[in-house]
């Protein structure tokens, strides 16, 4: 499904993080309306180096901001009203709560209230890594997806990190771009794509016929590991990579469930509400007859994200816990 036609044969593999940097490089090159504003992103290149070298190459367009998330987003909104395409880097997704008012109350409502679009992109380094603890690990996609007026992207591959960020800036609405920190260095691709599925279309990451896993971001890879493991026993698990959680591609999920009859929705975020609940609700209401067993969800535990790796490894879903859930689903 995913038409990944490599154009450049890079000698070294490109990481997910480098793809994000490359997309911003291309955006700054191609579109004079683009500028990037965030903490430590200029000469330092950002806490994760997603803007490395860009300040030098694009003077005055990649700027260090004070530690003022609310004001950073507010300034992006004002600049967008005036026709610019700002990108805001949050140092960690978790700190975006300090800019929450501007994002969900102001940016999200602007077009609906006034007819003037609000094309801003807010990059959220998201998700857990070992030892990061409660304030540097959160997955905030559902908090933003809840509000009308916002697009929420959750790329799981190097290719999507690149093409979706390009598309995010093109979109005339506020886009929350959830880039997963765990994937930054772990994922590599040979080249950057020129063609991609549009945002709003999910991707079948692995076809199967016995059960469907609908998931996104880092959990795509845990789910693929689960599918590979269960394949050894003859099970064929289909893995759907949602790519964006808002819009959520219900059609692709329903089409998959119509083939498999079983659904497990997996997410790294907290269990109450959220993306997996939305998936299950849609399948239950729109595709109840397709189901051979009650749909299941697997999320992080209902506590803050723990600091110690011993706890963190159990707090979030992993291939192991996804396999356990899938075994229950296959038996149901």
């Amino acid at each position: 499904m995913f038409q990944n036609q490599p154009t450049t044969r890079a000698s070294a593999a490109i990481t997910y993080l480098e793809a994000i940097r490359a997309a911003q490089h291309k955006l700054l090159t191609d579109d004079p309306r683009v500028f990037i504003y965030g903490q430590d992103i200029a000469d330092f290149g950002g806490a994760f180096k997603a803007t490395k070298g860009l300040a030098k190459e694009f003077p005055g367009r990649v700027l260090d901001s004070p530690i003022s998330e609310d004001a950073q987003v507010g300034m992006a909104i004002g600049a967008a009203i005036e026709g610019m395409r700002p990108i805001i880097e949050m140092q960690f997704a978790d700190f975006s709560t300090c800019g929450y008012t501007q994002i969900v109350q102001h940016a999200a409502t602007l077009h609906w209230r006034t007819g003037v679009p609000c094309p801003i992109v807010i990059r959220l380094p998201s998700g857990g890594t070992a030892g990061a603890g409660p304030f540097h690990s959160q997955s905030m996609e559902a908090l933003y997806a809840h509000y009308p007026g916002i697009v929420v992207m959750t790329p799981a591959t190097v290719e999507d990190a690149y093409t979706m960020l390009l598309e995010a800036v093109e979109i005339d609405d506020p886009v929350i771009f959830c880039e997963h920190k765990y994937l930054y260095y772990h994922l590599k691709a040979d080249a950057l794509p020129t063609v991609a599925l549009p945002t709003g279309k999910a991707r079948v990451a692995r076809p199967g016929r016995d059960a469907t896993i609908a998931t996104y971001s880092a959990m795509v890879h845990e789910s693929l590991a689960c599918a590979a493991e269960l394949a050894k026993e003859g099970w064929e698990i289909e893995v759907i990579d949602l790519r964006s959680v808002k819009p959520l591609d219900t059609d692709t999920i329903l089409a998959s469930v119509s083939r498999t009859g079983r659904l497990l929705a997996v997410g790294e975020a907290f269990p109450w509400g959220g993306v997996t609940a939305e998936i299950v609700a849609r399948v239950a209401t729109e595709g109840f007859d397709l189901l051979d067993a009650p749909p299941m969800r697997l999320n992080a535990k209902d506590t803050p994200v723990p600091y110690h790796p011993n706890l963190w490894g159990t707090h979030r879903p992993t291939a192991t816990s996804i396999i356990a859930a899938m075994r229950r689903l296959l038996k149901a």
């Binding site: 330092f44 004070p66 300090c98 409660p134 540097h136 600091y307």
Partner: protein, 339 residues
Amino acid sequence: MSQARASQSADKNQERYLAVYRWMLLSRVLEEKLSSLYRGGKITGGVFLGRGQEALSASLGTALRKGDIFAPLIRDMAGRLAFGETVLNATRTYLGSRLGPMRGRDGNIHRGEPARGYYAMISHLGAMVSAVAGGLFARRLRGETGVVGATCVGEGATSTGSFHEGLNMAAVEKLPLVVIVANNQYAYSTVNARQYACADLVQRAAGYGVPGYKIDGTDPSACIEVVHEAVARARAGEGPQMVVADLLRLVGHGEHDDFNYMSHALKVSPIGRDSLDVARDQLTTAGWATPAQLDAMRDQAAAEVEEACGTAIREPLPDPNTEDWCAIHTRRLAEGNQL
């Protein structure tokens, strides 16, 4: 002042200085140990150190009393220890011991013991200012007097809305809050010119309607005098006090950071001094301690740190199977983790 009284107050100054120095030293030795454990791969997650900021932090820790409220931030190991945190509990948090105050749930600088007024910072900068104000508000409602609350921030944190809201509110409520701003010239990599535009952060105090004090944060005797005075004034009912200290972060933002962005000119400038060296000079020049005595203090600190690390490293780690996966106190309202 009579001669007897003058010598009495000199004794008191000497005693206070030596106490501050002891905490500075203990903090330094412990942080050096943590840094080497980090480099040896023994610590998961970040290690953020207060090297260069010990005099300021220890001055605050010693000015506070049992029963006060203290919300330290990233670079306050010295103040935490002075406020009664044991070396063992500090170490446990870094090594993930299940027996530490955070039980492996949270780590490093995010530790605290709020039940005794030692608040546990969240990462979101500026957030602790209003929380300490709230603690003080409660004390006042209960009729407690003579209590002080203090929190520390870096210059970067002063750019947050939370800082502004918290300090303004404390000023409106005339709470006995002491805010210490450690202006260490960098917020991670960001220089002051990209953080604020006033000539000096202490000017902000006037805008909040609170007294502002300016000190050289590398000068321990100045830190002791001014911070103790600010705390005394807050305690006496004079409302919030804001202290701004100029100094330099003598380490990376965290131990992962080589801080090669730091200006050489600043490093060799007066604020690049190591307050521990300055303290040693001041103490020996005043005749308050001999170099041999100070060396002995360091040996003692090193022994204490080694013992704590030796204990913490053998303690049980958190176990996901016995961990209580419940985030709320009202257990009957917990939903469990069935999803």
